[in-house]
Structure formats: structure tokens, C-alpha cells
């Protein structure tokens, strides 16, 4: 008998990105509230955010080509809906937050510096109003992502501690792949 589990590559991506995104949320909220730490935090924020964007693309492709384990049989419809819906939203935000970050810097006509001379081209026209809208959107979307992360984290623990339905283990197991037991 084997147990449902995400493929190892999916699990690696999931945990790597979980750490990166959580770090980014803390870096982001911390840098805009600190005059002394602002610069070095922002210098990490840009390349780390772009790395998340790249990984999100890889992850979406991986998700589309590889089978994900089904949800447990007895799971109520509303819970399934909440699970799928929140995962779609998480994917959307993994793209939207860094893309909006990049676009807002473009609209403000800042060079989008990643490291040293390495920088990205602008992806939005220079415009004060556009910057202003995107800057507000970056905050709103990042805060939504944080709220969704909290819900996701809480739900994962409920699966583990209350439902004990194996959903937590399907992502959290360290086993290398599907193995007979």
C-alpha cells in the first residue's frame, strides 16, 4: 500500500518558495517601516522577489504536467472548494505581487536593479498615476497573500492535528517518492 504524496520536486519547490515568500513578506513590511534598514532590505527584496516570480512560473508548469494527489474521498464539497480556490489564489498572487513590484518601479522610472549592473527592463510606461495605483496594489496584494498564507498554514495544521486525513503529509513528508510500505 502506498500513500498519496506530491512528487519530490513539487515538495522541494513548495517548501523553498514557502520560506522565500514568508521572508519576502517580512522584508517588505519591515523595510517600509525602517529608515536605517530600508536600503539593504530593499536590495534583497528586488532580486528575491524576481526569483519567486521565476520559481512560480516553473512551479505552475510543473503543476500542470505532473499529477497532484487527489483530495481525500470523504472531504466535504465546501472544503474542497475552499482548498482549490485558495490554491488558485495563492498561485495568482505568487505571480501578481512580484509582477506589480516590477511594474511599479518601471512606472516610477526607477532602474530595476537586481545586483550591481544587472537590472531588468521596464515593463510599464512612466506615469505618476500608474505608479501610485500599482504601489497601492503591491501593498494590498502582499497583505492578501499574507492573510492567505495564514489561512493556508492554519488549514494545513487542522488537517494534521484535527482531521488527520493525510493531506498535510502529502506535502510535508520527507520520503523521497511513492514507496511501498
Amino acid at each position: 500500500m502506498t500513500h498519496y504524496q506530491f512528487p519530490a520536486f513539487s515538495r522541494v519547490l513548495h517548501w523553498l518558495m514557502a520560506v522565500m515568500i514568508l521572508a519576502m513578506l517580512f522584508i517588505g513590511i519591515g523595510m517600509v517601516a525602517s529608515v536605517t534598514e530600508y536600503h539593504w532590505l530593499l536590495s534583497i527584496h528586488r532580486p528575491l522577489g524576481i526569483a519567486i516570480l521565476v520559481l512560480a512560473a516553473i512551479r505552475l508548469l510543473n503543476r500542470l504536467v505532473r499529477q497532484s494527489p487527489p483530495l481525500p474521498n470523504g472531504m466535504p464539497t465546501t472544503m474542497r472548494f475552499a482548498a482549490h480556490g485558495s490554491h488558485v489564489l495563492l498561485y495568482a498572487l505568487m505571480f501578481a505581487v512580484p509582477l506589480v513590484g516590477w511594474a511599479m518601479l518601471s512606472a516610477a522610472r526607477y532602474p530595476v536593479v537586481l545586483y550591481g549592473a544587472i537590472h531588468l527592463p521596464p515593463i510599464a510606461p512612466q506615469s505618476d498615476q500608474l505608479y501610485s495605483i500599482l504601489r497601492t496594489a503591491h501593498t494590498a496584494l502582499a497583505l492578501t497573500l499574507f492573510a492567505l498564507f495564514l489561512a493556508h498554514f492554519g488549514a494545513a495544521l487542522v488537517h494534521r492535528l484535527v482531521f488527520r486525513d493525510g493531506v498535510f503529509e502529502s506535502m510535508a513528508s520527507l520520503r523521497s517518492g511513492r514507496r511501498e510500505r
Binding site: 500500500m1 502506498t2 500513500h3 498519496y4 504524496q5 513578506l25 517580512f26 513590511i29 519591515g30 523595510m31 517600509v32 517601516a33 525602517s34 529608515v35 536605517t36 534598514e37 530600508y38 536600503h39 539593504w40 530593499l42 494527489p69 481525500p72 474521498n73 470523504g74 472531504m75 466535504p76 472544503m79 516610477a108 522610472r109 526607477y110 532602474p111 536593479v113 550591481g116 549592473a117 537590472h119 527592463p121 512612466q126 505618476d128 498615476q129 505608479y131 501610485s132 504601489r135 497601492t136 499574507f146 495564514l150 498554514f153 492554519g154 495544521l157 487542522v158 492535528l161 484535527v162 482531521f163 488527520r164 486525513d165 493525510g166 493531506v167 503529509e169 502529502s170 511513492r178
Partner: protein, 374 residues
């Protein structure tokens, strides 16, 4: 066939077993701890922490809110021209702007007050902000003032000094006792203000020299990092204000600084030499209140030529944040705490003004001025 460990998981939470309650409470606490950590890092639990938003709030508290304008250096005009590098800088920095050749520049002249309609004679500090557009899309922005040193060492002192120097609404003048107690706590500011007061004013923007004040680091191809401060030194001969018969206290024109600049540019381009002062290990890089010794090596890296001037308008310098930490590879920040503070504060000022409706600038450049809009 694959399956889940527990073939019959229970999804019913009601009525909850004591075990379920314990689990849910534990999870709730874990989630709340992360949320609280986030709120703490974001400064929501520490209202007394000095943040960029609070510094800009204080600017607004002192100067009023002038929608669409910079919260400091609010009255200004856009300029453009070129920088011709003589190649001397390549020994110190890999930045492409220092290779022999020409780099396009846009910029802004301003007076260092947060009121966009302040009469020029009520101002004491003038500024030149520049954006060098390097090849391959890199950029170097710098904001310089025509004072020899900066009055404060860090953002906290800046914040306190703003309040100490705030004019009393009753008298229109700062309360001397407040300033005295600030200076008693900040002897470095007292010293810096002496040096600032001792400097003669130039008659205008064109014959003033502007200083980075903050220290930076030039990094060359071998990875050697050199502490530097830079200046734009006027080629137009310096004339002290009183000397030329311009009486600071009763000017005939509230925009005389800007109008003189427009008139000067109508006659031809204006030039400055970019001069870097090379610091040694004895020189403080983290203290902009202290001048480096006169004996330090000074190197001329090129000439700035300004030949165009235009009213602030959407799309030109008015939409640029002259963040001093927009730097190309080869120029790095020093440990001067003012740098990160400026970057953070300017960003907040920029964010607020970008969201606001624009009022026409006090400084209007007549169309007769030659050249295209910067």
C-alpha cells in the same frame, strides 16, 4: 493503488472533542504569533519607532500639505544637459559614467524648503539634483546641497531638529530655548551650523557649488573600495550675495534665484566640474556633519554642462525621485546612516506626491528659453 493513511477521516468539528479544542487553540495561537510578528516588524506595535512615514508626517506638520509637491526642496525647476568625463575616474570606479565620453543628464535645481511657494529670499540652502543616464540602462542619481557639511548625523537627529527649528505660530520665529536644548544634546550640529553660517552665499544657482555631503564608495575593477565625497564646482566665478548688490532681505522678485538662472541659461550653457575628494581611513564616512581635511586629494573627473531648463511638468524631473541610492555598479553606499534614511524618506515623499493632483509650479520658465524640454 494509492490512498490516504486514514481511510475514514472525520470532517465534523461539531460537537468538538476536548482533543479537537486543544488542537484548534494551539493552531490559533501559532497563527496569531506569526501575525503578531508581522505586525511588530511592520511597526504597528511600536508607534514611537521612527519610520519614513513619521518623518514625512513631520514635514507636513511643519510646512503644511502641498499636494503634488516634494515634501522638501519643494520649489524647483527642471534642467538637462550632458556630463563629459575625462576618464580620470576609471582608476577609482568601474562606473561607465567615468569612462572617457559623454553621458546625458537631467536634473533639478531647488531651494531646500518644504514650501513650494516660498519666496527665494526666505531660503538659505540651494540644491542641485542630477540623474545620469548611463549606457545599458544603468543610472546614477545624486542630490547635492550648497552647504559645506550637513547639520545632523542621522534621521533621529533630523527629526528632532525639525521640531526644534519649527517657527512658533505666535512669533513666526523658532523658539530659541528649544533650539538651544537640541544643540546642547547635539554638539556636532552646533559645530556644523557654525560652518554652514560661515559660508558666503553665492548670488545664484549658476555660480554656486554643490556637495554630496554624504560619503560614498568608489569601487574599481580590482575590487578596491575608496571612500569619496563629490562636488559640482561652478565654473561661473563665485560672487557673494551682498557684494553684487542683491539684498537678500528685500528682493524685488520673489523668484529671483530661478529667474536669474533662466536669464543666465538664455545667454548660454552653464558648467560645473565634478570633483571627488578622496577620503583616507582617518576620515569619518558615517558622519556628514564633519568636513574632511582640506589636504585630502581632490580629483576632477569631468564637466557638467547644463543647457536646457523647463517648468516642472508630468514626465520630466517632477516625476523623478532623486534617491541618492540609485547608483550604478562601481559606486556604492558608505556606512553613512543618512543614506538609507534619505532613500526611505524620499520614497515615502514620492509615493504621497505621486498620488496627488498637481498644482502648477511657482517657477514658470517662459517658452523663449532655448532648447527642448528636459
Amino acid at each position: 493503488m494509492s490512498e490516504y493513511e486514514n481511510p475514514r477521516p472525520h470532517y465534523r468539528l461539531w460537537p468538538p472533542s476536548p482533543e479537537t479544542i486543544t488542537s484548534l487553540v494551539t493552531i490559533g495561537i501559532a497563527v496569531a504569533c506569526i501575525a503578531a510578528g508581522f505586525a511588530y516588524v511592520g511597526g504597528y506595535l511600536t508607534p514611537q519607532r521612527l519610520t519614513q512615514a513619521r518623518i514625512i508626517d513631520r514635514f507636513e506638520q511643519i510646512n503644511g500639505v502641498h499636494p503634488g509637491f516634494r515634501r522638501n526642496h519643494a520649489k524647483g525647476v527642471c534642467i538637462a544637459g550632458t556630463f563629459d568625463s575625462n576618464g580620470n575616474g576609471t582608476a577609482l570606479s568601474t562606473a561607465a559614467v567615468f569612462e572617457k565620453g559623454t553621458t546625458p543628464v537631467t536634473g533639478r535645481f531647488a531651494v531646500a524648503v518644504g514650501k513650494p511657494f516660498v519666496p527665494d529670499n526666505e531660503t538659505e540652502v540651494r540644491s542641485m539634483a542630477l540623474s545620469f543616464r548611463l549606457r545599458d540602462g544603468e543610472e546614477w542619481r545624486t542630490g547635492m546641497n550648497d552647504i559645506p557639511v550637513f547639520p545632523v548625523r542621522n534621521a533621529q537627529a533630523f527629526y528632532e531638529q525639525m521640531l526644534a527649528a519649527r517657527p512658533d505660530p505666535a512669533t513666526g520665529k523658532p523658539d530659541p530655548s528649544r533650539m538651544q536644548s537640541f544643540l546642547a544634546a547635539h554638539p556636532e550640529t552646533a559645530k556644523a551650523l557654525q560652518a554652514i553660517k560661515a559660508r558666503p552665499f553665492s548670488t545664484g544657482f549658476a555660480n554656486a557649488s554643490y556637495n554630496s555631503l554624504d560619503a560614498f564608495r568608489f569601487v574599481n575593477g580590482a575590487g578596491v573600495s575608496t571612500p569619496v565625497r563629490w562636488s559640482m564646482e561652478a565654473v561661473d566665478p563665485f560672487v557673494a550675495e551682498g557684494q553684487a548688490g542683491v539684498n537678500k532681505s528685500s528682493p524685488t522678485d520673489v523668484n529671483y534665484l530661478f529667474d536669474d538662472l533662466i536669464a543666465r541659461l538664455a545667454k548660454g550653457s552653464v558648467q560645473w566640474h565634478l570633483v571627488v575628494t578622496i577620503g583616507t581611513s582617518d576620515d569619518a564616512t558615517a558622519d556628514a556633519t564633519v568636513a574632511w581635511p582640506e589636504t585630502r586629494t581632490r580629483l576632477t573627473l569631468g564637466t557638467l554642462t547644463i543647457d536646457r531648463i523647463a517648468t516642472e511638468a508630468p514626465g520630466n524631473c517632477s516625476d523623478v525621485n532623486f534617491d541618492p541610492l540609485v547608483l550604478p555598479a562601481g559606486i556604492a553606499p558608505s556606512d553613512d546612516p543618512l543614506l538609507s534614511a534619505r532613500s526611505a524618506t524620499y520614497s515615502n515623499s514620492f509615493r504621497r506626491r505621486a498620488a496627488e493632483a498637481k498644482t502648477p509650479s511657482e517657477v514658470q520658465v517662459p517658452n523663449v528659453t532655448k532648447g527642448a524640454s528636459p
